[in-house]
Amino acid sequence: MTQFLQLAISGLMLGCIYGLIAMGFVIVFKATNVVNFAHASIVMLGAFLVAKWHGSLGFFGAIGAAAVACALAAVALEIAFLRPLRKRVRSVDALAIMTIALNILLGTELVRAVGNDLLPSGAPWGADTTNVFGAAIPQARIAAAVVALVLMGIFYVIFTRSNWGVAMRAAASEPEAAALMGIRLGRVAGGSWAVAGALAAIGGAFFVSFPAGGVSNVTGLLALSAIPVAVLGGLDSTAGAIVAGLIIGVAQQLAAGYQDELSFLGRGLSNVIPYVVLFVVLLWRPTGLFGTRELTRV
């Protein structure tokens, strides 16, 4: 029972990070209709910059700087590549393929930069644990969960209360009407990419800090798990991203913790469990847990 509790709590905390990364993915999709595969590379870029800068800026300073850098990078991608394409082609697929190509370019460069090394992220916790309800939980996970929850809270307030949040939701639900009401769609789009970039950097820094301890050349591939999380929650639901993050975090931790009992399903099950959960849920709800059903108008 202690083991179960330990895995479940640890999984929920891992899930917070997944939720944070997937939230950026969802925000971009809502505001600009882009399924952003390059998000995985931006996560890796954030983690990479933190690994580079933590020596001079400290861990949290490096995260702040990386968040700004990734926000700028994401906006640059949006303005340079996605915006011209979106003006001409309204198809989700074409935009998705564009981000796949950007992910190839950015990902290849990052893998080259990281090489075969493990660059430590400089998180101050190491492998220390703290007791939570009688279960030993790594401090790195607790810190990650606290940061993620605070950020989620801040963004919840921004989405529901601020002008920018209302503008974004208006632009997402009815772009033409929003534009006629004086909402500048370009600015909303840029803003959403910036937010997603910053969230990716912060999420990425915590994502690589534990248990791996740093950035390696597979970080970009691992960060792709944000996609099943976002799809599971429903591509256009920020709350869904968080719930799905928690579900997948717990499922992954349980699969890793009970791998001896589950050995008949093969080694490395925890890497594929997000996709197994995804398939099961999609059979039941084709647009994810909280996604809006697509209606067809003739």
């Binding site: 394409l85 001409r88 697929d93 190509a101 290849t108 591939l221 080694r267 996709y275 999609l282 084709p286």
Partner: protein
């Protein structure tokens, strides 16, 4: 005879004659390109014609490759020292056909999900197949050989083996034809048959139905197209092409490992058909040749190219250089498409035809 037809015949003649001169390196590269071409034709039917984004192609290629090895492999080989993976010991031709059917079956088995999910949701969910597939390939070691993979039995047809032996010394105009040269002709025939079948499919009723679905599902249904059936069928046919590509790949490599059928391989297929122009069979073949040959060619000439470093040396590795080049090519095609080159943007569902295309 049209000029295009003369060009085609000339090209085929050159390809038929090529094994007389080309070194083993070019033969090997060509075989990979042929395998990729077959797979890319299948994917362009699904993504380009039906408008259904799929990132699971590597999974179905893997099914074809492992299926062939399993069906053709020696039965009861488990007793050998390294405990080789099991097989059914079927004749290679039957094994090849069964492997293609198996890939089609896997595509059909995915259809409960494929039929329920729409648009981008299916594209994203299909990523899962690649990861789950790799997990199975690495763990079902009784069939797949696990992490180390398994050997592929050479193909043979009516006693003629597509390997270095049997017949042992097989010379054509004084040039010895070994495994690579023999497979070259098999590959050529398979690519031509695949392209011919796909073109016929597109020009007939099924192709029109699939295009109608891509342009508007509702309109297609109103016109009497059975949308779920055709979408399922497109998925299945595309998987069978992938299966054939897998068989070809297994023969060309002689050995397959799970690592080959990863997510990046799926992305490669998508890049091929985007560079070639979505929905175009010839374009898919061209894209496949470019994407699969580029890393090999850069590797081959690394010491003579300016920016590219030779493998192991410091600087830009040939593999990375190839990825940069074709990543940039996709960006270029997407940005410039609706300007001049063949109505690519219009092929995407929901895109507006440009004024040029309207008047054409």
């Amino acid at each position: 005879m049209s000029r295009a037809r003369i060009a085609w015949i000339a090209l085929i003649a050159v390809l038929v004659w090529l094994p007389q001169y080309a070194e083993a390196f070019w033969m090997q590269t060509g075989l990979f390109a042929m395998s990729a071409a077959i797979g890319a034709i299948g994917l362009t039917l699904l993504v380009g014609t039906t408008g259904q984004l799929s990132l699971a192609h590597a999974f179905f290629v893997g099914i074809g490759a492992y299926g062939y090895c399993y069906f053709a492999g020696d039965s009861g080989a488990a007793g050998t020292p390294l405990s080789a993976p099991d097989g059914l010991g079927l004749p290679p031709l039957a094994a090849g056909i069964l492997a293609v059917l198996l890939a089609g079956l896997a595509g059909a088995a995915f259809s409960p999900i494929a039929a329920r999910l729409k648009g981008i949701y299916l594209g994203l969910a299909s990523i899962g197949l690649v990861f789950i597939g790799q997990h199975i390939m690495q763990n079902a070691s009784g069939i797949t050989g696990g992490f180390n993979g398994r050997d592929a039995k050479p193909f043979s047809l009516f006693g003629f083996e597509f390997s270095n032996t049997n017949p042992d010394n097989f010379d054509v105009f004084g040039v010895p034809y070994g495994q690579l040269e023999r497979l070259w002709y098999l590959g050529l025939v398979l690519v031509l048959l695949s392209a011919w079948y796909a073109r016929n499919l597109l020009r007939n009723r099924p192709g029109r139905a699939l295009e109608a679905i891509r342009d508007s599902e509702v309109a297609a249904a109103v016109m009497g197209v059975n949308v779920p059936l055709y979408r399922g069928a497109a998925f299945m046919v595309s998987s069978m092409y992938a299966g054939l590509a897998g068989v070809m790949l297994a023969l060309a490599f002689s050995r397959i490992v799970p690592e080959s059928f990863n997510f990046l391989y799926s992305i490669d297929f998508l890049v091929m058909i985007v560079i070639g122009g979505l929905g175009s069979v010839g374009g898919a073949v061209l894209g496949a040749v470019v994407v699969s040959a580029l890393p090999q060619v850069l590797l081959h000439y690394a010491d003579r190219l300016p920016i590219v470093a030779s493998p192991g040396g410091s600087g830009l590795q040939p593999n990375d250089a190839a990825r940069f080049l074709y990543g940039a090519a996709v960006v270029g095609v997407l940005i410039l498409a609706s300007g001049g080159s063949a109505g690519l943007a219009r092929r995407f569902r929901g895109a507006q035809p440009t004024s040029k295309e309207k008047t054409a």
